[in-house]
Subunit: 505 residues, 2 copies
Amino acid sequence: MKVLLNRDSDIPFYMQIAGQIKRQIISGEIIPGFRLPPERKLADSLGINRTTVLNAYRELKAEGLVGSRVGQGTVVLSPLRDEAAGMENRVPEPPWNQIFSKYAHGINSFIVKDLLTLANRKDVISFATGIAAPDSGPIQALAGIEHDIVLQKNYRGLLHSPTEGFSTLREAICALMQPRGVYCHHDEVMLLSGSQQGIDLTSRIMLEPGDIALVEEPSFFPAIQALKAAGVRVVGVPMDKRGMRVDMLEPILHRYRPKLIYTIPNFHNPTGSEMSLERRKQLLELAYKHRVLILEDDAYAELCYDGQPLPTLKSMDSEGYVIYLSTFSKIIYSGLRLGWMVAHKKAIKKFAAAKQIMDLHSSSLSQWIVERFILEGGLNVHIPVICNEYRVKRDAMYDALTQYAPSDAQWNRPRGGYYIWCRLPEKVAASRLLGKAAERKVVFVPGTAFYLAEQGDDYVRLNFTFAPLKDIGEGVKRLCEAMKDLKDSNDVSEEDEPVEISPIV
Amino acid sequence: MKVLLNRDSDIPFYMQIAGQIKRQIISGEIIPGFRLPPERKLADSLGINRTTVLNAYRELKAEGLVGSRVGQGTVVLSPLRDEAAGMENRVPEPPWNQIFSKYAHGINSFIVKDLLTLANRKDVISFATGIAAPDSGPIQALAGIEHDIVLQKNYRGLLHSPTEGFSTLREAICALMQPRGVYCHHDEVMLLSGSQQGIDLTSRIMLEPGDIALVEEPSFFPAIQALKAAGVRVVGVPMDKRGMRVDMLEPILHRYRPKLIYTIPNFHNPTGSEMSLERRKQLLELAYKHRVLILEDDAYAELCYDGQPLPTLKSMDSEGYVIYLSTFSKIIYSGLRLGWMVAHKKAIKKFAAAKQIMDLHSSSLSQWIVERFILEGGLNVHIPVICNEYRVKRDAMYDALTQYAPSDAQWNRPRGGYYIWCRLPEKVAASRLLGKAAERKVVFVPGTAFYLAEQGDDYVRLNFTFAPLKDIGEGVKRLCEAMKDLKDSNDVSEEDEPVEISPIV
């Protein structure tokens, strides 16, 4: 249905609307059963008064072209049928629950979205996000882009690019991989629309519904979601301070025969821990022995604040069992949606064929900006700057916890990454703390979000990169006060008033 | 494995390399079975002579740390085993063909990529792409962006955005939909990383493997690919000048009970045809009757060169059976990877949950640029400009065909879109014409690319938007000469030398 008002005409709006709709009904552009837009909706769209639309619909009704009934709105009648029959004939809404696929039934949106909304509220101190402070980003990456595109007529960033990404950017990534101990060709590299796409792609290309994947528990929840949505059975492997309990792995491998192990060996999300070198070695040996692929998620590779990071699994694997993911989201800007994958070239070929179906290729403009920033040396300058900044923030959070936290809380001092993982004092449940903390205008992600089953309510993930340095101490203080509130109140009303486990209030 | 050369050191490079690798073998960072990078690869990566790496590997071999065998490269040996056993122990490559999922086996990359490569060659006149000439794009969309982001500290385009897209952009799209006859709320709109993502999403959310989808035949091949890859059975419905043969649809619906009908009613790709109003009406009535969803791909909506486009199916459907896709690729820039979907809000909710798993959200920067361009009125100014340009180009191609084509060739004069669909003269096969035309430096897409089965070798798709206006006549002339060459030569060596059906030579 199409209504275009002529504001210069002498004909009143309601007659213009009725006339145009009538013409469309008679010509068949609008068919019997068509429900006219609700009056308010059409009025808002056209920027006119609701009564005007109401009057237009009344005209049409008087002519017998439309009918209305409570709960059904205004419906175009068939000229051949009487009004009652016309109304009965109204097309029912599609039966969505029957239409949705198994895949669709398996997914629910995760909470990142809500976290973003809350984290953007100015009066809240957020330890909940997985992003950096906006002004920590390398805004210099954009310097001169308008000149370089518009004046130099360089349309490269605006037109199609190869599915695998610009070959020059793939080569720049090869160079980026060398300090990570990986010597690859550009045909072993593919750009991704964020590293989340790499997890989804792997679940489509390497796994069948019913296949089993192992993950550290706790782990990055959108990865678990992507695997589960693909119908993959996800089995958790416990962790300790030295990362995944690889020493417990062999019986699990025998029992479940998984096809994939998903791991974040460096500065793990949510725990901040690092897998020990010994375990990395064992993990690879087990993967070879059992012919299991490893999906190594290395989002925080460059963000090591003390000394050198341990070798990546990819750097220890010469045969292609490791599919390596990383991203520019944590070191440049997340809104560019750009990550990458390093894998055996046979796998890259298949990944590219699948990616082509999914989105043809990643944003050329994002690629162009990132490539330019790397090649001009900007990234190399930027990384030490943010490492210094995040080191100070990590220390501020660690020190504030030392100062304010109840004596039976525990937390770590990660060498890198974005998160401190904090074990709550006894009798303080993360799900209950959330409400108390929100009252004090501080937010975090409760540990439960990172576990497969009902677990983790004794942990919280605290991000230290997003909040301004000056707010970190205050935020931790408020959080610890909320903990103490709960400890005190628990003695009185334990389990009395169940708090909803909705991460954001 | 990690090698960092100290170029200021007195220690020769080969000893630095051998020393570092040795340290990593002893520490276990490199495990037995690890294959050292090929000498040339490492030498290239480090920017040194191959002999230097060769000498380093010799050192390691002399110490018994590595061994080498033809076809296996240089492999780290186990200290506990003798050399021979160590070599036997080498880890085999992952068995990719066993590893790849059914989904992976179902896909092959399509030819867009190759077309891009060829179309970018300066000496070739390309009628093969599905894009506009780079300098037809609205470069003014970028004017001032650096100022608005960097100086105004507006980080919106650089940080995360909601999965569904910026709500302001979704509202701008609601306004864009009004001239297309659709009055929607922003909760019925979702941004996509290109409209291809909408096809992939629909196949995941609405279809199970084994479900049946109907498509016009011929049709847009990446859509067919996405459906097929998802295990969907794709059934073709014939077309004529008035679009899909909806008059033939009812028995097909009875026989196959499809769950989805994919259609491009406006300025169809590849044929340029429009579905008649009468058929649109019938199609909707059949969809309601058989409870089948319609996926309406309306990429060329704004590109009508004579008069007004026919009403979209979405504008004729008030109940949500139509899932509507469109894109900014054909009217702004394809490299931004931005399209959108309009659907029932219950469907949008599921689509968003699935999209979140796939790529979290579309590029914020692309969204920011497009939103700004629309809201500042730039898009409204730009569209008449390109419509005028493409009308002239279409006429140039049409007229050149009239002037040069053999008398038994046939072609249309589409009212809009990007393509002329040309039936070749008798005895001229598109697959053979491709080589002949390439010799004369002109390319196109043979009709076979758009059909499900072996069909369409008597058609070619000719894009008229990419080539500069001054080249269109010359390109058509060359193409028609190639047709005549083939007509002449066919009498002599019919079927003699089978030409490979590889669209790009």
